[in-house]
Amino acid sequence: MTIEMTKVSFAYHGGTSGLPVLADVDLTVPDGEFLILLGPSGCGKSTLLKLIAGFDKPTTGEVKVAGKTVTGPGKDRGMVFQDLDSALFQWLTVRGNVEFGLRMNKVSDADRKRQADEALRMVNLSGHVDKLPDELSGGMKQRVQIARMLAMRPEIMLMDEPFAALDAQTRQMLQTQLVTIWSEVKRTAIYVTHDIREALNLGQRILLMSAGPRAGIKHEYEVPLSYPRDQTDPTYIDLLDRLSKDIEEEVTKVWS
């Protein structure tokens, strides 16, 4: 499903308290794209994601998914939260968490089991289905969140810095796994990060956001490389260099 944002601005409390976080954002995401929202902290990239998810409503402008205006969250848009613990149901096992949405939607027992098993296989958690979230490592918790989303087979997968709290090795493995999953399910993915290498490892297109307040999309970068990304490729190195300089400008703005 295509996502379209036109002249979207967002300010807390309807704009009564201070400057808008986001101002005049225009964005089109074609069906099936892996899009990265990259930017320094406080640039409103998570806010943009929340507007697509329907957690917040734009102060002005419109967010449309498949031609319909977003009015709230929906099961067509799955979400993976950055926080390792707050979004999981810690009283449910791994399987219970992954099957949660299917149960809520009264999917038949056979389909539920099949869809959950498939999602668990994709994140490589089939051997841990009976564990509780407390018994899992950070990387496994995030894979539970991803599987929970995949089980619902959403048209759009929204991910808010899902690997930011993990160590570098785990993060890299999960990036590889995520690309594999994305190419298997062929759905739109929007991924928020502040990590340039992560952006280059995952995205087909990278939107660099300017620093807030009144943040917006500063520059757009296409990544014309195949997966898995070769970090020694001259194009990769060139993009890394350009993105670093571009993002540094924004960070400097925040600090000066």
Binding site: K75, R77, F89, W91, M104, H128, L132
Partner: protein, 271 residues
């Protein structure tokens, strides 16, 4: 392509052996305390003020022979548990609704936050006038004291349920009612559990005071009347039994949390 990870999972439970060792340490501590008491009471303290443990045991045997002790224990526990269970039965649904629905909160809040500062003791005489000198007034007083603690803790649990859990449930297609029932309620269980544990202890305080003021039976009554007979040893039997049954019910509650509700209350039941 399958990506193998080498992540480790934390250990599941404390080894059983360590729990056993812990029990014996506590047991020896109690035995030591009783020995110190016995020696001190026999040698340094006037037994009228602090009888030795052996004299208290003798007093207990005497009470059992007169056939009164078990009756006092049974009636006190009956009042405590009935009031506690009925009070929680009313308070949990109320707390859930108050926590999740603002208009209901606004209706009940002034009453709750006004009344909870009025101890059950202040209402004892009034309840006796209203509901008679029988069991009803006593059970209602325990319900009253239990109710406020449980309502407030339950509502707090609802209010503090992390926003991300509810948002996640929404993206998974859960309805408002499903979110309440399958996310908010289980997420509030630890707070309910803690509230009920505090309320259980509170029930002991209330019932003893009520039995001292207006009853012909119960451990509170036993303690109160022992004074009239100058039987300090009987008084200690009553005091000891209160502590003992308090400890026992609290332990039972803790075990319930550790075993049946483990996945809901998690580390809340560790102490």
């Amino acid at each position: 392509m399958v990506v193998e990870t080498t992540e480790t999972t934390p250990p599941k439970k404390a080894p059983f052996g360590r729990l056993i060792t812990g029990f014996w340490i506590s047991f020896l501590s109690v035995v030591f305390g009783l020995i110190v008491w016995e020696i001190a009471a026999r040698n340094f303290i006037d037994p009228f003020f602090l009888p030795p443990v052996s004299a208290i045991v003798a007093g207990a045997v005497e009470l059992i022979e007169r056939g009164l002790l078990f009756q006092h224990i049974a009636i006190s526990l009956f009042r405590i548990l009935t009031g506690f269970i009925l009070g929680s039965f009313v308070a949990i649904p109320l707390g859930l609704i108050i926590g999740s629905y603002m208009p209901v909160r606004q209706i009940f809040d002034p009453y709750i936050h006004f009344l909870r500062f009025i101890p059950a003791l202040a209402l004892t005489t009034l309840f006796l006038v209203w509901f008679g000198v029988g069991e009803v007034s006593k059970i209602l007083l325990v319900m009253y004291s239990t109710g406020f603690i449980v309502v407030i803790n339950t509502a707090t649990g609802v209010v503090t349920t992390h926003k991300n859990k509810k948002l996640a449930a929404e993206t998974l297609g859960a309805s408002t009612w499903q979110i309440f029932w399958f996310v908010t309620v289980p997420a509030a269980v630890p707070s309910m559990y803690v509230g009920m544990r505090l309320a259980l202890a509170g029930s002991f305080l209330v019932i003893v005071a009520v039995e001292m003021l207006a009853a012909e039976s119960g451990l509170g009554y036993l303690i109160w009347t022992s004074k009239l007979y100058f039987r300090i040893d009987w008084m200690f039997v009553g005091i000891f039994l209160l502590g003992f049954f308090g400890l026992l019910t609290d332990y039972a509650w803790k075990m319930l949390g550790r075993h049946w509700l483990r996945r809901y209350v998690r580390e809340t039941a560790n102490y």
